[in-house]
């Protein structure tokens, strides 16, 4: 029982204590980031199951997918795509400023990212409300009469599952961004320690990545 490691390592310029099982700040950063990438792998496979379901049902009922997708609002879908892409830009900039110890700019970029996420969800809310109003709902709740295909509820099952799971990810992302905003304001990060901003950024880009595929699959070529 020696206590050769009794010395506490604090990252220079911050009050972040490097946990004792890491040799230094870089070691900690790399390990944390690797963990985040592994988590993103599981996220890809989580959505992967839904993409497989989409492939199967589209293969079985191509004409139904075509009819059903025409009820989606392409314009709102495209608007949300631009909003998410822009939020990815501001997120990347927030990380960039954090790396350069420009805390105020980093904070502002995080605020814009957060507001983009809110915009995305508001647009999604109006889309969902329209679908509920028209009866464009999953499976047995489907009551819309404008599509002459008895399997059209299947498309909306997929639509709500895929966009719903994505929407939950947007909400969780907003939680992370809010938390990182608060810590940035408090002055927790500088060029030597910005791991939470970096990892929140990776997560947020993944949310954007999923949408990059959902948008064409559901709105454009259903």
């Amino acid at each position: 029982m020696t206590d050769h490691n009794a010395q506490v390592h604090v990252v220079e310029g911050t009050n972040h204590v490097i946990p004792h099982h890491y040799e230094n700040a870089f070691h900690e950063f790399d390990a944390s980031k690797f963990g985040m990438w592994l988590f993103l792998v599981t996220e890809i496979l989580l959505f992967g199951g839904l993409f497989v379901a989409y492939t199967i049902f589209r293969g079985l009922y191509p004409e139904m997918f075509h009819l059903a997708h025409e009820e989606l609002n392409k314009g709102l879908g495209a608007l949300n795509t631009v909003v998410l892409l822009f939020s990815s830009l501001t997120m990347a900039l927030a990380v960039g400023y954090a790396q350069r110890t420009e805390r105020a700019k980093s904070f502002n970029m995080l605020v814009i990212t957060f507001l983009c996420a809110v915009t995305f969800l508001v647009v999604k809310f109006f889309e969902y409300r329209h679908k509920f109003h028209e009866g464009l709902l999953p499976a047995k709740f489907y009551t819309f009469e404008g599509i002459k295909h008895d399997k059209a509820g299947l498309f909306y099952s997929l639509y709500f599952m895929m966009t719903g799971l994505h929407g939950i990810h947007v909400l969780l992302g907003m939680g992370c961004i809010g938390w990182v905003m608060w810590r940035t304001k408090r002055g927790d990060f500088n060029k030597n320690y910005f791991t939470p901003v970096e990892l929140t950024g990776l997560y947020w880009h993944l949310v954007d990545l999923i949408w990059i595929f959902l948008f064409p699959l559901l709105y454009l070529i259903g």
Binding site: E23, F26, V52, T55, K74, G96, R100, K191, H205, P216
Partner: protein
């Protein structure tokens, strides 16, 4: 303790912020292209273009926004692996779904039966009735089937009392699993799940076809094989079909078929003509279940125990593919709705099909 940890970079990679802006502009341009191309119909290319652009956008996000281009090799491998496994997931499921060969129990039965006679060309001969086959069928029927189906095929054999559901009464004209030669052959070969009907694969293929022809000859309803039936039975395609087998049917059946009422071709119009040839045929062949002028009527199923009474649907206002497609109409009527009480009706001439279809169409279009 060394203060360097092998393999860990000691400088964070700093991408110029202008790079992010450039990537964003590229992403927006790609978004406009993908929305723009979706407005036009390029057939299969629409999905190729849309997915190609999505992959390109995703690559830009991953490499530059997520900075994977400048990351550890371990992170690169891990993230790339997720897409490799995702494509395995999608491609293998897709190849199973879209390239699965049709399950053919008939063929499995042929294998189990062993011996010759399994080649499609032989089966194509066997599936056409001949007096010889009918005689063989009667002999086999008396030996194997009478115990349940009864000597007259009325489903009243000595063993029938013990069976639920009751054995088929062939004189009812109702076929649960289809009444065409290959379908009846299929039922004899595989049995009827959930009933006392066993699979008779120990009988030779010829004997099973003979039985099929015999029980069809008892039935007032004996539809011919459709293309779909032949496909399912594996008898379509190859040279087997090209060598057209001359139809050999019993003389009395041929006489029945030759007896064609006056041939009048009725043009398709949406006004019901009760004097038309089609109306006449409808009255003779269909009205007993569908009611006069197809208004719908109660039908008591004779093939079920206890008997079930159903109302047939009125034709007026029906919207279905058959209304405007004679091909669909013929397929539907000749196959019937197995399991829903509609027996298949075949044996009409080309003109009769045309007349019947235009009359049914008039009924459907009527208010």
């Amino acid at each position: 303790m060394s203060d360097s940890h092998g393999g860990h970079q000691h400088e964070h990679h700093l991408s110029p912020l202008s790079l992010f802006v450039k990537i964003f502009v590229a992403l927006i341009v790609l978004t406009f292209i993908t929305v723009g191309t979706s407005m036009y119909d390029f057939g299969i290319m629409n999905i190729v273009i849309a997915m190609g652009i999505a992959v390109l956008k995703a690559t830009l996000v991953i490499l530059f926004f997520m900075q994977l281009k400048f990351d550890d090799i371990g992170n690169k491998v891990a993230f790339a692996a997720s897409f490799v496994f995702l494509s395995v997931f999608i491609l293998l499921t897709g190849s199973d779904l879209f390239f699965r060969t049709e399950h053919r129990p008939v063929k499995a039965a042929e294998k189990a039966a062993g011996g010759g006679g399994g080649a499609p060309s032989d089966q194509n001969k066997l599936r056409v009735a001949s007096p010889d086959l009918l005689a063989k069928g009667k002999k086999s029927y008396d030996a194997n089937c009478v115990i349940c189906h009864g000597p007259g095929g009325k489903g009243d054999g000595p063993a029938a009392v013990a069976l639920t559901p009751k054995p088929r009464d062939f004189t009812s004209g109702y076929w649960k699993l289809g009444g065409s030669p290959t379908r009846v052959f299929h039922t004899i070969s595989n049995g009827s799940p959930g009933t006392g009907m066993a699979a008779w694969i120990q009988l030779s293929i010829e004997e099973r076809y003979a039985l099929a022809h015999y029980v069809r000859s008892i039935s007032p309803n004996h539809p011919d094989d459709t293309q779909e039936d032949l496909k399912v039975a594996g008898l379509l395609g190859g040279s087997a079909v090209q060598e057209k087998v001359a139809q050999e049917i019993p003389i009395d059946m041929a006489m029945d078929k030759l007896e064609v009422p006056d041939q009048v071709v009725i043009p398709a119009e949406a006004e019901i003509n009760p004097q038309s040839h089609g109306a006449h045929l409808f009255k003779m062949e269909c009205a007993v279940c569908h009611g006069i002028n197809g208004v719908g009527a109660p039908v008591t199923s004779q093939g079920l125990n206890p008997p079930v009474t159903l109302m047939t649907k009125a034709f007026s206002g029906i919207q279905a593919p058959w209304v405007n497609s004679q091909g669909d109409f013929i397929t539907l009527v000749s196959q019937g709705f197995p399991g829903r009480g509609m027996p298949g009706k075949a044996g009409f001439s080309k003109e009769e099909w045309g007349a019947l279809h235009s009359y049914a169409r008039e009924l459907a279009l009527s208010k």
